[in-house]
C-alpha cells in the first residue's frame, strides 16, 4: 500500500467520523428541542441544589456552599451522559433505524459520539441553574475565583464525559438490558467521582480506584476554582482529565466497532 493510498484512507476515515459526529450533534439538538422529557435531569439540578444548600446552611457550614452548588451540576452532567449513552443504541434498535444507520458510510461510533456530545453540552446548563438557584433562593452567590480556569475545566470535563459515555454505549450495543445497566452504573460513579464527597475524604483503599475516574479530577479542580487560593498543579490535573477522556474515546470507539462486528456476525444488530 502506497503512502498516498494510506493518507487518502486516513482522510476518508477522518471525514467519515467528522460527518458522523456532525449528523449526531445536529439530530440530537433537534430531538431535544422537540422532546423536553429528555431534559428532565435538568429539572432535578435546582431541586438538589435547594436540598444540599438547605442542609449545609442549617448546619452553619457556609464554607460548603460551593460543594452544594457543584454537586447537582456534576450529577446532571453524568446522569444525562449515561442516559444518552444507553438510550442512543436502545432507541435506534427500538425505532428500527439501527440497521439503516450501520449501512451508511459514516461510522456508528461517531454518530453515537455526536449525540452524546450534544447532550453533554446541553447538560452543562446545570452549572448555571445551580448557581442561580443558590443566589436567588438563599442569597448565596458562589464566587468563581478563577473564571478562566473554571471555563477550561468545564469544557474538558464535558469532553471527558462524552468520551466516557461512548465506552458505556459499547456495553449497551451488546446488552439487551441497557436500562438496568444504566441504573447500576449511576451511583458508583458519583462516589468514585467525588461528586458530592471529595475523594480525599473517602477511605484510602478506594482512592486509587477513584483516580481512574475523570470526574474525581474534575470535581476537585472545580472546587479549587471556587476558592481564592491558587489552583495547585492545574495543568497537570487538567491534563489527566483530558488523558482519561481521550483514552475513553479510543477505547469506546474500538469497543463500539467490535460490538458492532460481533452483532454483524451474530445477526443481532436490529434485535430489540
Amino acid at each position: 500500500m502506497t503512502t498516498s493510498t494510506l493518507s487518502s484512507r486516513a482522510g476518508e476515515v477522518v471525514t467519515g467520523n467528522v460527518r458522523g459526529v456532525a449528523a449526531g450533534v445536529s439530530r440530537e439538538l433537534r430531538e431535544l428541542r422537540r422532546s423536553p422529557d429528555q431534559l428532565m435531569a435538568l429539572v432535578t439540578a435546582p431541586l438538589l441544589t435547594l436540598v444540599f444548600l438547605a442542609i449545609m446552611l442549617h448546619a452553619n457550614r457556609h464554607d460548603l456552599a460551593p460543594y452544594a452548588v457543584l454537586a447537582p451540576a456534576l450529577l446532571v452532567l453524568w446522569q444525562m451522559a449515561l442516559q444518552t449513552s444507553g438510550d442512543t443504541v436502545e432507541s435506534e434498535r427500538e425505532n428500527g433505524s439501527l440497521e439503516a444507520l450501520v449501512a451508511t458510510p459514516s461510522p456508528l461510533p461517531a454518530v453515537i459520539g455526536g449525540r452524546i456530545a450534544a447532550v453533554t453540552v446541553v447538560s452543562m446548563l446545570g452549572f448555571g441553574e445551580s448557581w442561580l438557584v443558590a443566589g436567588l433562593v438563599f442569597g448565596v452567590w458562589v464566587q468563581v475565583f478563577h473564571p478562566a480556569a473554571m471555563v477550561a475545566i468545564v469544557l474538558v470535563t464535558g469532553y471527558a464525559t462524552a468520551c466516557s459515555a461512548l465506552v458505556l454505549s459499547a456495553l449497551f450495543v451488546t446488552t439487551r438490558s441497557a436500562r438496568t445497566l444504566q441504573n447500576v452504573l449511576t451511583y458508583p460513579f458519583y462516589i468514585l467521582g467525588g461528586v458530592i464527597v471529595p475523594v480525599a475524604l473517602l477511605p484510602m483503599w478506594i482512592q486509587p480506584l477513584s483516580r481512574l475516574v475523570f470526574l474525581s479530577w474534575s470535581s476537585d479542580l472545580m472546587r479549587d476554582a471556587l476558592t481564592p487560593a491558587p489552583i495547585e498543579a492545574m495543568w497537570g490535573r487538567l491534563g489527566m482529565v483530558l488523558l482519561l477522556g481521550t483514552v475513553a474515546l479510543v477505547v469506546g470507539h474500538l469497543l463500539v466497532k467490535r460490538a458492532l462486528d460481533r452483532s454483524r456476525r451474530m445477526g443481532s444488530i436490529g434485535h430489540v
Binding site: A23, N95, S97, A100, P105, S106, V111, R264, R265, G267
Partner: protein, 340 residues
Amino acid sequence: MWRIHTREVLSRVQYRRDVVSAVGVVGLRREFGGRRGQPVVVALQGVDLQIPEGEIHGLLGPNGAGKTTLCKILSTVLLPTAGSASISGYDVATETAAVRRLIGIVFGGERGLYTRLTARANLEFWATLYGLRGPAAHLRVDALLERLGMERWADDRVETFSRGMKQRLHLARGLVGDPRVLILDEPTTGMDPVAAKDFRSLVTSLRAEGRTILVTTHDMAEAEAICDRVTLIDNGAILATERPSTLGSWITRYARVSASGVPDERVSEITSAVMEIDGVAEVRLTSPGALLIDTAAEGAAPTVLRLLLDLGVTEVATTRPDLAEVYLRAIGDRGMRIDR
C-alpha cells in the same frame, strides 16, 4: 455429476473475472443459532445470484424464505457464514466502506424514521451521514421531497404521517445518498393502491437513471409490473431466475379450482367429468363434499369452472398455487419432456 460441478465452478470464476455485476452473490450461506445448544437455522443455503447494472430484479418468495437475510448481507448489516457477496465488485464483508457509499437500503414497514422530527429533518440527518452538508444537502432533500410528492408535508412531524407517507419517506431516505444500487425490502407493505402505483413508476424512473434495484416482495403482481427478472427463493435456496412473464404464465397454467358442497353421491360422477377436460392434472377429495382440482395447462381452469357450474356445483373458486409448488411442477414437466 462431475460435469455439472465443473460447470458451476467455471461459471463462478467467469463471473468474478469477466463481469462486474452490480450485485454478485456466490455460494452464499447464512446460519443462525448453534450456540449454547440452540438449533442451527439455515437462512440461506448456497445462493448464487448475479444482477447486471441497470436491472430491476425481484426477489420473490414467502415469509421466511431468506429474502431479508440476503438484503441484510448485501447492505453490510449481516455477515455471511460462507460464500461471498459483492456490490459493483466490492466485497460486502471486507470492503464495507466502499459498499456503503454505493448502496441505499429501505427496510419495509413503518419503523425506522425519527417520528418527532419533520420529514425534512429526517432526510437532512441521513444526507449528512452520506457526506452532504449545507446547500448540497438542502438541494438533494428538496429534490427528493418533490420527487416523492411530499413537499406539502416537508415540515410536518413524521408522527402525524399515514403509513403510506412514511413509506414514501423511507424511499426518499434510501435515495438520499444517490445510490447506484438500491435495495428495497418489501417496500410497498401497507401502501394503498395509488401509492403503490406511484412507487412502481418511481422505481422504473430510477432504472432509467442507470441504477440497479433489488426489490423483495411476496406479491407476484408487483414483481410482474416492475421487474426485468425475478428470482424465486424459498427455504433459503434459489428455485429459479426468470422473466416475470414466464413466472406469470406458470402460475396461470397451474391454477387450482376448489369446489365445495358437492353431494356425496355425485362426487365420482363430477370427478370423472372433470378428469376428461384437457389440462386437468388431478382431482382430489380433500374433505366430505370438497374437491380440489389441479390444472396443468393454460385455459384449463375456466373450462373446469364452466363445467362445474353446468353440473350444478355453485360453490367454486380459483386459487393460485404457491410459487415453490409452481416452480417444482414446471421444472418437473420440463424434466419429463427432456427425458422423452
